[in-house]
Structures are given as C-alpha cells and as structure tokens.
Amino acid sequence: MSDALSHDNVLEEAARWQAEGRKVALATVIETWGSAPRPVGSQLAIRDDATFIGSVSGGCIEGDVVTRALDTLETGKPEVLEYGVTDAMAWEVGLACGGRIRVMVEPVTG
C-alpha cells in the first residue's frame, strides 16, 4: 500500500532516488545517551544534491550529517559520527537538548 501520508518512507525514497540514477547516502542513529531527540534506528536519506528526507535529530545536527554523508559518496566508506551537548563554543555542531548520539553515515553502492 503506498502511504503518501506516512512520515516513515525514508528507505523507499532512497531506493527511488537510486533507481533514478542519483547518488544516495543514508544516516542512521545507532546509539543514544540522555535526552536524545530521535530514537535509535531513526534515518535520513540524502541525495547527491543535498536534498534530504527523514531526521536523526530535531534539526540540530542534520546540516552536518548531510555534509558528512555526502563525503561518503566520494570515499565509498561508511563512518560513525558522534555528537554531544553544545558547549561554550557556540558555533560547534551539537545537540541543544543535552543528549549524545552516534550516527552512522554510509553511501548506497552498486
């Protein structure tokens, strides 16, 4: 059943982009500590033009995750990223909620 209304179609969108010949990367929350905004398993699909769908946080780190995920399209290798609470360095990418999360970014290959 095609569920246009459902907000949980990240993988379907990734597969669709890939079938259209676009390069696609995925980001997945693999571990959380404290009050992380999105649970383990939450995903983001990123297209080569930086269009993305889904979420791995409440919007705090998506910008950086998208950049790092696009990097994996060049290297072809998955990476595990870690984000923590924002400290005094206000320009650092981090989570305002005080949680910590690990995110895996990977290219869709083949």
Partner: protein, 225 residues
C-alpha cells in the same frame, strides 16, 4: 549499503515481512536477518529476534567487533469498526502516525470511497472482517458504531486476540451496558477491563477531529508507556 540490500529491504517492507539489518560498525559489512531463517548464524538470529521483539535497534558484540542491529517490523495496524464521522479523521491520523489502517463497516453507504478516499475498506460483517484481519500484538482496534450489532462481535473478537489496544466509543452509560453484555457472553471482568471505554484521553475533545486526537493519543500512550 549495497543497493541490492536497500531494494530487498524496501521489498520486505512492502510485503510486510519482519527483518533486521545487521551492520558491522568496524567495516560496514551488512546483511539482512530474518528470524525464521534456519541457515543463519545463531547469534545473529537471537540478536535480530530481540531487536524485532523490542522494536528498538541495538549494538551487540559479535564476530569482528560491534554490530548494529536495526529492526524493521511490519507497520502497526489500526482497525476501525464503523465508518462513521470520527473514523474519517482517525483513519488519516492513524496513517500519519505510521499505522496500516483498515476501516470495517458492512453499511456501504458509510464505508464508501467517497467518504474514505484511498483508505482500505472492508464491508463484511465485523466478526468475518476480524477473522480475516487476525489482529496480533501490534494491532489496535477501535469500535465506533454505537450499534451493539456491529460493535459487540468486533469487541468479542478483539478480546480473544492479543491486540495491544482495544477501545470502544460510547458514554459511561453505554459502556456499562456493553460491559454487562460482554459479561453475559462469558468474558471475565479482567478480560473486559482491556477495553478502553469511554475511549480516548480526557482532553475535553468535542469535534470528530479532536476526539480522533484523544483516541490516537491514548493508543500511543498504551503502546509506548
């Protein structure tokens, strides 16, 4: 992720097959794990079954380091008995919340595609519909007709199922007579207590959409708390 794995995962989801994606974090090696696969390594089957049962991804220690197991369960299901006004916003909200929604009503003037565009409608009698749908522990059932002829057979089937949420629309008075009928039909007080009635959280809801919000909120509370 290999494109073949992505495509298989999308197929599994479309065909409502439970599967876990296992990824070795040291090098990104991945495989899909099906709990019923007898050929698969035992530790992987156990880890996959565990994350599927809890519906929560986890990192486990496996050969060659840490593995992340991400469960992909078939969608939660929501069965609405009664294609009444409240079912219109409730079916849409259920779908937005990620549920696979079915609306059951043998009255075809109610269960019409005009009233429920792009929604799965079953126009068989509720007892037949419930037998066909076979609700499991990832199913929520809400009766909305106010008519015992339609609601009661659905509730009886619901009580005999492991559905995680059963709700019945109706006032305290309506619910009291419903409880009496189910008791006469042989259900114990404990069994009948599974029914949320009056249905929904007490948020002062008045319009059909507001009542749908209160029901969806109660379903969510029951699922997550």
């Amino acid at each position: 992720m290999d494109a073949n794995i992505l495509q298989q995962l999308v197929r599994d989801r479309a065909e409502k097959r439970a599967v876990a994606l296992a990824t070795r974090l040291t090098d990104g090696i991945q495989k899909l794990v099906y709990p019923s696969d007898t050929q698969e390594e035992k530790w992987l089957i156990e880890a996959a079954s565990q994350v599927l049962a809890s519906d929560r991804g986890a990192i486990v220690e496996g050969p060659g380091g840490e593995w992340f197991l991400n469960p992909f369960n078939p969608p939660l299901r929501l069965i609405l008995v009664g294609a009444v006004h409240i079912a219109q916003p409730l079916s849409q909200m259920g779908r937005i919340a990620g549920y696979d929604v079915t609306v059951v009503d043998p009255r075809t003037s109610f269960a019409s595609p005009e009233r429920f565009p792009e929604m799965r409608l079953l126009t068989s009698w509720p007892d037949e519909a419930m037998a066909a749908l076979a609700p499991d522990a990832r199913t929520a059932i809400v009766t909305l007709t106010h008519d015992p002829k339609l609601d009661d057979p659905a509730l009886q089937a619901a009580l005999r199922s492991p559905a995680f949420y059963i709700g019945a629309l109706g006032s305290k008075k309506t619910h009291a007579s419903r409880v009496a009928r189910l008791s006469d039909a042989g259900f114990s007080q404990d069994e009948i207590a599974r029914i949320h009635g009056p249905v929904g959280l007490a948020i002062g809801a008045r319009s059909p959409a507001e009542i749908a919000i209160s029901i969806m909120a109660e379903i969510t509370e029951t699922l997550r708390k």
